[in-house]
Each structure stands twice: as structure tokens, then as C-alpha cells.
């Protein structure tokens, strides 16, 4: 028995564009949120990427198979669009670095992005934020390696099951488990002081 989204998709596949509009209204928040959190809160082209996602949905409506969840299918298109954007940004950055290096030499080139597996702190956000915790959390999530961040965002903010995350990321459930474990470890390192502050009351109560 198809669910409401699958019925909408079928109508859309049969040429009813009002069904597509309903899908856009229904999922725009989720797509925008995933793009924003996956590409990082400082990324300025969130709406452009999210728009590309829906244009791709429109373009490839016939590739949707009714056995898949519409939401998961949409997530996988969003993930692809984000990956393309990441590749584009990397290529652009490499071009800039290469030009810079060609002109000024290697010694003054940009530092590589920070890696948090070794426990280094993230670069503090330059945004003027009133909520310090919010800034720290956002910066910490932004600082996670891409795949870990994506797995975390889909699980934590989109309520996806491991299976749905695996399908959206075109990977396996064990790979998702591993990504999430590492994501939590890295987050804990980055947010150590915050977590300890949060834990203090419960720890003192317990002892």
C-alpha cells in the first residue's frame, strides 16, 4: 500500500505538476536544513543548492521507484548535490591556492583545513552570536569530516534510521555505525568543556 508521498510521486510521474509543488512545500525545510548543516553554517549558497535539488527531482522524476521512501530518495539527491558543491568548492579553492602559490611561493600558502581526529580545536566562528553554546555546537558540527557530519546530521536532525542514512549516503549500515561512532568521538573532543559542564550536576548527584 503506497504512502501519501508515494501517491504524490506517482501523480507527479503521470504529469501532474501540482503534485510536485506539494512535494516542494512539504520537503523544502528538510532539504534546506540538510544542505545548510551538511555544507556548514557559513556556506552562503544554501538556497541555490536546495533549488538545484528540486530541479533534479523534477528532471529525474522517472528514476524514482515506488518501493523507495520518497524522503530517502530526496535525501540521496540532496547528498549528491551537496557532494557536487563540495567538489566544486574544493576545485575553486585549489585553483586559488595554486595561483597564490605560483605568485608568492609555497611558504606563504594557505594552511590545510584542521583535522579533528587528533583533538585540535576548531577555528572559532567570526560570526557575532549571542548564544555562545549555539556557536560552539555549530562550529563543532561544521568541523567534523564531511561523511561523519552527514551521518550525524541525518541521524540527529532528520531522525533517519541507520538504514535510511545508509541508503541516502549509498553506503552500508556498518559504515554508518562506524561514521557515527567517530563523529561522536570527535564531537566529544571538540566540545569537551561543554559536555563536562552539562555532566557536572548529574555526576555530583550520582557520587
Amino acid at each position: 500500500m503506497p504512502d501519501a508521498d508515494q501517491v504524490l510521486m506517482r501523480r507527479f510521474q503521470e504529469g501532474d505538476e501540482s503534485a510536485f509543488e506539494v512535494l516542494v512545500h512539504k520537503y523544502q525545510g528538510l532539504v534546506l536544513s540538510l544542505v545548510r548543516r551538511y555544507l556548514g553554517s557559513r556556506f552562503s549558497g544554501v538556497e541555490d543548492v536546495a533549488q538545484q535539488v528540486f530541479v533534479r527531482v523534477f528532471r529525474s522524476k522517472m528514476t524514482y521507484k515506488p518501493k523507495a521512501k520518497v524522503k530517502t530518495w530526496l535525501y540521496s539527491i540532496t547528498v549528491n548535490a551537496c557532494l557536487n558543491e563540495i567538489r566544486r568548492l574544493r576545485a575553486e579553492k585549489n585553483r586559488r591556492v595554486n595561483t597564490f602559490t605560483a605568485v608568492f611561493g609555497d611558504s606563504t600558502g594557505e594552511e590545510p583545513p584542521p583535522v579533528f581526529e587528533d583533538g585540535r580545536s576548531p577555528t572559532p566562528s567570526s560570526d557575532a552570536e549571542s548564544d555562545e553554546v549555539s556557536v560552539q555546537v555549530r562550529t563543532a558540527v561544521d568541523a567534523l569530516p564531511e561523511q561523519q557530519r552527514l551521518a550525524l546530521v541525518l541521524t540527529r536532525f532528520h531522525g533517519c534510521s541507520y538504514e535510511d542514512v545508509a541508503e541516502s549516503m549509498r553506503t552500508t549500515v556498518p559504515a554508518v555505525k562506524s561514521l557515527l561512532t567517530r563523529a561522536r568521538e570527535n564531537l566529544r573532543k571538540i566540545l569537551r568543556s561543554l559536555v563536562e559542564a552539562q555532566n557536572e550536576p548529574s555526576t555530583s548527584e550520582g557520587s
Binding site: F20, E21, V24, H25, Q28, G29, L32, S33, R36, R37, E47, A50, Q51, F54, V55, F58, R59, D131, V133, S134, V137, R138, V141, L152, T155, R156, F157, S161, Y162, K177, S178, L180, T181, R184, E185, L187, R188, L191, L194, V195, Q198, N199, S202, T203
Partner: protein, 177 residues
């Protein structure tokens, strides 16, 4: 499932799955029982739970009212562009037909031109045409290094019967007039 026999990595993954509600009721109960006997691990799980709760502070932004209309406009443009590309695609499908039509036209034109040329060669079935053909054959048979001498001496031209030529041209001009 024996948590004590698991590697640290396996146990961490299992505890994360426990926190994420990914375990069956039976597995969750087993983990919960194990945690009761392992205060260190229980603290670790509580730590992770707080960490997860902290992520609530990562607030999302509201969706702009212009977003959905923007998508529909972009889709409209996409539809127009795809319409254009479909024409190109149809042109690809029609290509064999177009090619066949072009070949037919080319063959027709060739046949027409050949017939026209044939008519021109057929008309003078007279002595003049025969002699012109003979002259061409004769010129072709002369070695290249001797051709200039032969032409200068006028041997070839003299072989044409001027009288017959004149008579034929007179007849044509009479018919034409």
C-alpha cells in the same frame, strides 16, 4: 551478544546504536542490564547522551517564503530548456529520415545533371561530335612531352573536317533562329 567479549570499537558502536534506538527490544534490554553492572560504561553512555542533547543548540533557520516560488520558476526555465533539447533529440531520431531525403535529392540532382549532359552529347550525333571525340582521344594518346609540338604544328586541328563543322553550325543557327 556478549559485550564483555567485544572489542572497544564494537562496544562503542553498539552503545551508540543503543542511544540511537537502533537495537531490538531484546538487545536494548541486554545492553541496559550490562550497563547496570558497568558504572564506567554507564557514565560513558550518559556522556554521549548529553553530547547528543547539546546538538539541540544547533538551531535551524526558517524557510524563506520566496524559496518555493523560486523553485517553481527554476523548474519553468528547466522545462523550457528541456523542451529545446527535446527538439534536438527528436532531430536525432529524425536524422535517418533526413539523411535518406538528402540522399534522394542528391541522387535526383545527379540523374538530372547526367541526363542533361547526356542530352547535350546525344544531340550532336553527327560527324562533328564523332570528330571531337576522336580529337580528344588523339590528344590523350600523345605523350605529354610531344603535345606542345603537335599542337603548335596544327596536325590535330587539321584532322577535323572544317566543312562538316561549318555545315552543322549553320544548321543549328538556322534552327535556333
Amino acid at each position: 551478544m556478549n559485550l564483555d567479549l567485544m572489542s572497544t570499537e564494537e562496544r562503542r558502536e553498539l552503545l551508540n546504536a543503543y542511544l540511537d534506538g537502533e537495537l531490538s527490544a531484546e538487545e536494548a534490554l541486554e545492553v541496559s542490564t550490562w550497563l547496570d553492572g558497568n558504572p564506567g560504561a554507564l557514565r560513558e553512555v550518559e556522556h554521549l547522551r548529553h553530547l547528543w542533547d547539546l546538538l539541540e543548540h544547533y538551531e535551524d533557520e526558517p524557510v524563506s517564503e520566496d524559496f518555493a516560488p523560486g523553485v517553481m520558476r527554476a523548474v519553468g526555465i528547466e522545462r523550457t530548456e528541456r523542451g529545446g533539447r527535446r527538439v534536438v533529440q527528436m532531430a536525432w531520431y529524425r536524422r535517418p529520415i533526413a539523411t535518406a531525403a538528402a540522399v534522394l535529392v542528391a541522387v535526383g540532382a545527379t540523374v538530372f545533371v547526367m541526363n542533361h549532359q547526356k542530352d547535350e552529347t546525344v544531340v550532336p550525333t553527327t560527324e562533328v561530335a564523332r570528330q571531337e571525340t576522336d580529337v580528344v582521344a588523339l590528344l590523350e594518346s600523345i605523350p605529354a612531352d610531344q603535345l606542345e609540338d603537335v599542337l603548335l604544328n596544327g596536325d590535330v586541328l587539321l584532322s577535323i573536317d572544317d566543312a562538316a563543322l561549318d555545315a552543322e553550325y549553320d544548321e543549328e543557327s538556322v534552327l535556333g533562329g
